[in-house]
């Protein structure tokens, strides 16, 4: 018997349990839950955007003061990044899984390339805009906040910035690894 035949025999000998009624009921529950979860995510996302919009107008953005404009820019940068992530995740989830493997792989590779674009172009751009808007706020903070608190804000934001850059780096590495894996054959 050759080695492959041995592997094939082992494969068939695997003790796999049959489909159970409880597993099927679990599955039905999960299907129902998923539809609800999707609706909740959409509601939460829309409400967040709505609340941030209301907040923006509430703080006086309507008169285009520098402070309000800076805060508005920061909020917009955050919202754009959250939306990009949301659409990216839902795009992957909704990718048609009934096509041939070759077609699917091409679309999956495109998806990972888009993710890399988001990490390398969109996110750094938004981060730069966010940081610039934050930087324009610093003089106002210096006047209105205590020295200790002002220093805390400045240093903690620097740490956060480094943290985000590292996070982007890790994500890019992961996406590149996936692309490499998909290109292997």
């Amino acid at each position: 018997m050759n080695e492959f035949q041995q592997v094939k025999n082992n494969w068939k000998e695997q003790p796999i349990e049959e489909a159970s009624v409880s597993d099927f009921l679990d599955l039905k529950k999960r299907i129902k839950k998923l539809a609800g979860k999707q609706r909740i995510t959409n509601v939460v996302l829309l409400s967040t955007v709505g609340i941030l919009g209301v907040f923006f107008f509430y703080i006086g953005a309507i008169d285009f003061s520098d402070v309000a404009l800076a805060i508005g820019t920061m909020i917009a940068a955050l919202v754009i990044r959250v939306l990009a992530e949301f659409f990216s995740i839902s795009h992957l989830r909704n990718m048609t899984a009934t096509t041939s493997i070759q077609d699917f792989k091409v679309r999956l590779q495109r998806y990972y390339r888009n993710r890399i674009w988001v990490h390398l172009v969109l996110t750094p751009l938004l981060l730069a805009i966010y940081s610039f808007a934050f930087w324009t706020l610093l003089p106002d903070f210096k006047v209105s906040l205590s020295k200790g608190f002002y220093n805390y804000i400045v240093y903690s934001s620097m740490v956060l910035l480094v943290f985000f850059v590292l996070l982007i780096g890790i994500d890019v590495r992961k996406e590149l690894k996936m692309l490499e894996e998909l290109k292997r054959d």
């Binding site: 592997v7 796999i16 299907i31 992961k174």
Partner: protein, 176 residues
């Protein structure tokens, strides 16, 4: 099988969509689970999760199944694509005794079988994602023509690739 949508409710002629789904689930659970096990290095919990995800996709696409391929081809496409979609979660997953599929045999035989399974999953895990799909379907006994349809490749290409993967797998099992 013929599917039609009437009054907003999709039905298989003579049998409801839910009944058809249940039949598909019961009749194909084990083979889909085995395929998923091959993608997650034999991790039973992860394979179970993945199998559930496959059947969620089967449910959401069942009404649009149009007989353009056999139900088997269609199912395998969903299963392999779902595994590819989750590749990121599975990569670098280490095989441990606790999550490995358990043998029903006792004593020495069980130990040997467990060792063989571990070896087999290690070797399958080293293959490229498409090759993994091809060999997992071959191990399951799917005809090469059908494997070609699932993959979207020519029959001849599949035959050559299977030959190559078999050699690769044999060498790996023999630690060559």
């Amino acid at each position: 099988m013929v599917y039609g949508a009437t009054g907003g409710q999709s039905k298989l002629i003579g049998i409801s969509l839910e009944e058809e789904f249940k039949k598909l689930y019961e009749g194909n659970y084990s083979k889909i689970m085995r395929l998923c096990l091959g993608y997650v290095s034999g991790d039973r919990d992860m394979a179970k999760d993945l199998t559930q995800e496959v059947f969620i996709k089967v449910w959401s696409n069942l009404a649009s199944f149009r007989n353009e391929s056999t139900i088997n081809t269609w199912l395998y496409r969903i299963a392999v694509n779902t595994c590819l979609m989750n590749l990121r979660k599975m990569k670098n997953r280490r095989l441990t005794h606790n999550n490995l599929v358990e043998s029903e045999a006792d004593g020495e035989t069980a130990k040997n079988m467990e060792k063989q399974f571990k070896e087999m999953y290690r070797c399958i895990n080293g293959l490229a994602p498409s090759n993994k799909a091809i060999i997992l379907m071959e191990l399951e006994g799917l005809p090469q023509k059908e494997i070609a349809q699932v993959m979207g490749l020519k029959h001849e290409a599949i035959r050559t690739r299977i030959h190559r993967i078999k050699n690769e797998l044999s060498k790996c099992v023999n630690h060559e």
